[in-house]
């Protein structure tokens, strides 16, 4: 038997109540990953690590997991893998946030200019988007590294700027769509100043879901780029740990049977990026109603 109850007030989070279980699972896993990453970032930032990540122990090289004192084992210099994994988050957390902030803020500004003002500005934004699209991202990043220095913040500024066109297109498209809606005209008729209409009624109320989704996907992208670069040796340099250079360092011992020191950070990368991606996908399905029903 089913019970039907009249709500006292109407549900504010209707989208959540109608969501698929699968999407909720995606989002749940994604949020768990975000929470873990954030907590680990704080632990690393305050230095509450179980071991000194730089302390070597020559008697315990490439130890297996569950070794007493080292629950995740040690690497080729006998350094504690767990502490290094936690500290590795420092390598991408703030830089990644910087990248998505740049792309969201810059992309929104460009999108608003293109969508609301139109005209030559729109053409200019389109050209910028084409220019960025026509250039391989990794090559551009390597160029910047070559021109300046292998600093992760330089890299993330490039990642942020190259991420702007996607956001700009998204916002401009939304605005072009919304401008024909009479509620925007009605908002003008109500006497709301143009910046309130753009910032509140268009960006905040109508684009925030899309922007949050883009932010999570952007974070996944930033992590991937950071780890790739560190793996190639252009990112974070030893002895500072990063998941990318940990995989790289461990790979030398992989074929000797000590596969764990490179597999552990690889799994961490996998789980984290999957988490951000699934969070973005799940939110997209729930908030934007993308799953056909």
């Amino acid at each position: 038997m089913r019970r039907y109850v009249q709500a006292e007030t109407f549900p504010r989070f209707m989208a959540l109540q109608r969501a698929d279980a699968l999407d909720l699972a995606y989002v749940g896993y994604g949020l768990l990953v975000v929470a873990l990453v954030f907590a680990s970032y704080l632990i690393g930032a305050f230095g509450w690590l179980p071991h000194d990540p730089r302390a070597m122990n020559v008697t315990l090289l490439n130890a297996a997991p569950f070794t007493p004192g080292h629950p995740l084992g040690t690497d080729f210099l006998g350094r504690d893998l767990q502490s290094r994994l936690i500290l590795g988050i420092q390598a991408y957390f703030l830089p990644g946030l910087l990248a998505i902030t740049i792309s969201i803020v810059g992309g929104s500004v460009l999108g608003v200019l293109a969508g609301y003002r139109g005209g030559p500005l729109e053409t200019l934004v389109t050209y910028f988007a084409n220019l960025v699209d026509s250039f391989p991202r990794l090559v551009l990043i390597l160029l910047v590294i070559a021109a300046f220095k292998p600093d992760i913040y330089y890299v993330m500024v490039v990642v942020g700027i190259t991420g702007m066109p996607v956001i700009a297109n998204l916002v401009a498209g939304k605005i072009a769509f919304l401008r024909q809606k009479s509620f925007i005209e009605a908002a003008h008729a109500l006497g709301l100043p143009a910046h309130t209409v753009i910032l509140k009624h268009i960006l905040w109320l109508n684009c925030r879901a899309a922007l949050v989704i883009q932010a999570t996907l952007g974070m996944a992208e930033a992590i991937l780029i950071e780890t790739s670069l560190s793996y190639l040796g252009f990112g974070v340099q030893e002895p500072t740990p990063s998941w990318g250079n940990m995989v790289q360092a461990g790979a030398n011992y992989f074929l000797q049977g000590n596969f764990w020191p490179s597999t552990a950070p690889a799994l961490a990368i996998l789980a984290t990026i999957l988490g951000f991606q699934l969070l973005g996908d799940g939110l997209n399905n729930i908030l934007e109603g993308k799953r056909g029903r």
């Binding site: 007030t9 005209e185 009605a186 003008h188 008729a189 109500l190 006497g191 109320l205 109508n206």
Partner: protein, 356 residues
């Protein structure tokens, strides 16, 4: 007079036809304090564009290019001539040069504190006029905090609930947290009316407020507008193509045809089928009233259609469709635009049959 529009011209440029669409072309009308002016006419007669011009909301280009809009003894088109240059050849506009950004800045200056606060608007299709991603209550609170000196959120909410109650929305507390998608069209229109009136404007422009609603809901909204009018005495400019709505609510009526006002005057005089402008008579004959229903006489459609707003005929705009034209005036009708002549105190007509 609270609002008087004189010789307003609002044109749009059609790139594909390289010509001006003369949406409003020399329209004059006025609304007195406390009265309801009904503006009636077919689709495309320029009613809505005239209202949008008065509110400074025309978004097409070049938009308003001439005329005078006086509101509360302030000229809302002040300084227009500085930004617009019109080239005319034998009475027709051939070229317009407009400094769009300068004009927009000027409108912004002139409309500050007027749009939304002094002139409020409600639209047709109310559900589309509310932001779908925000609750009705939040939007109402936003309007109240923008236009009244209530800044406190709780106070604004109380005020919003008060207004929801005044527009006869059942259980306003429940509706406050509703999104527009969760409410019926009629309810959304009530919320829009509440939003418009919450600023306590001196003029309410109701642009086809009943269009797009069910017939029964239309009647309710008309009833509500009548009641609110009686309660607050607000000056209203009511735009509709539905003569019965106009008849119910208006004190005075202006009939628009092809971008100009062809007849204006007290509702009782304009809306009687016997006299008046041939177009008004034809409009009245095309809708059922008690008499036609009783005698079961067929309704008369107006032959033809609204003349092309781009290539307008020289003479009277209604000449091609007029069924009263007599041989005595035919040549004048075909070649000369009739002036707006006063036939009775306050009752003006644009027709050679009535011109002295």
């Amino acid at each position: 007079m609270l609002l008087s529009i004189e010789n307003l011209r609002t044109y749009f440029y059609s790139r594909s036809r390289r010509a001006f669409v003369r949406s409003v072309d020399g329209a004059s009308l006025s609304v007195g304090r406390g009265e309801t002016l009904g503006v009636v006419g077919e689709s495309g007669s320029g009613k809505t564009v005239a209202a949008l011009s008065a509110a400074g909301l025309v978004s097409g280009t070049p938009g308003v290019i001439g005329g005078r809009i006086e509101f509360n003894s302030r000229n809302l088109l002040d300084g227009l001539e500085r930004y617009v240059q019109v080239e005319e050849r034998d009475g027709r506009v051939m070229a317009v040069e407009k400094d769009e950004s300068g004009w927009r800045r000027q409108v912004k200056r002139l409309m500050a504190g007027v749009r939304g606060k002094e002139i409020a608007m409600i639209f047709q299709n109310p559900r589309a006029a509310l932001n779908p991603y925000s609750t009705v209550g939040a939007q109402l609170v936003e309007a109240i905090r923008l236009h009244t000196n209530i800044r406190n959120k709780q106070e604004a909410k109380e005020k919003a609930l008060h207004w929801l109650e005044r527009v006869r929305i059942d259980s306003p507390r429940l509706r406050f947290d509703n999104f527009p998608s969760g409410m019926s069209g009629g309810m959304c229109q009530r919320a829009m009316i509440a939003m418009a009136l919450s600023a306590e404007p001196s003029l309410l422009i109701a642009d086809e407020p009943t269009t797009g609603l069910d017939a029964t809901i239309q009647a309710r909204i008309v009833e509500l507008l009548g009641e609110l009018k009686a309660e607050t005495g607000i000056t209203t400019m009511l735009i509709s193509h539905d003569i019965s709505v106009i008849r119910r609510l208006s004190d005075r009526v202006a009939v628009m045809y092809a971008g100009t006002v062809v007849e204006s005057g007290p509702a009782s005089q304009v809306l009687q089928p016997k006299a008046g402008h041939p177009y008004t008579a034809a409009l009245l004959a095309s809708v059922p009233d008690a008499e036609t229903i009783r005698t079961k006489s067929p309704l008369q459609a107006i032959e033809g259609e609204v003349p092309d707003t781009i290539d307008r005929p020289r003479g009277c705009r209604f000449y091609g469709r007029c069924n009263r034209v007599s041989d005595a005036v035919r040549s004048r009708c075909a070649n000369l635009e009739p002036p707006l002549a006063e036939v009775a105190p306050g009752h003006k007509l644009r027709c050679w049959l009535h011109a002295a």
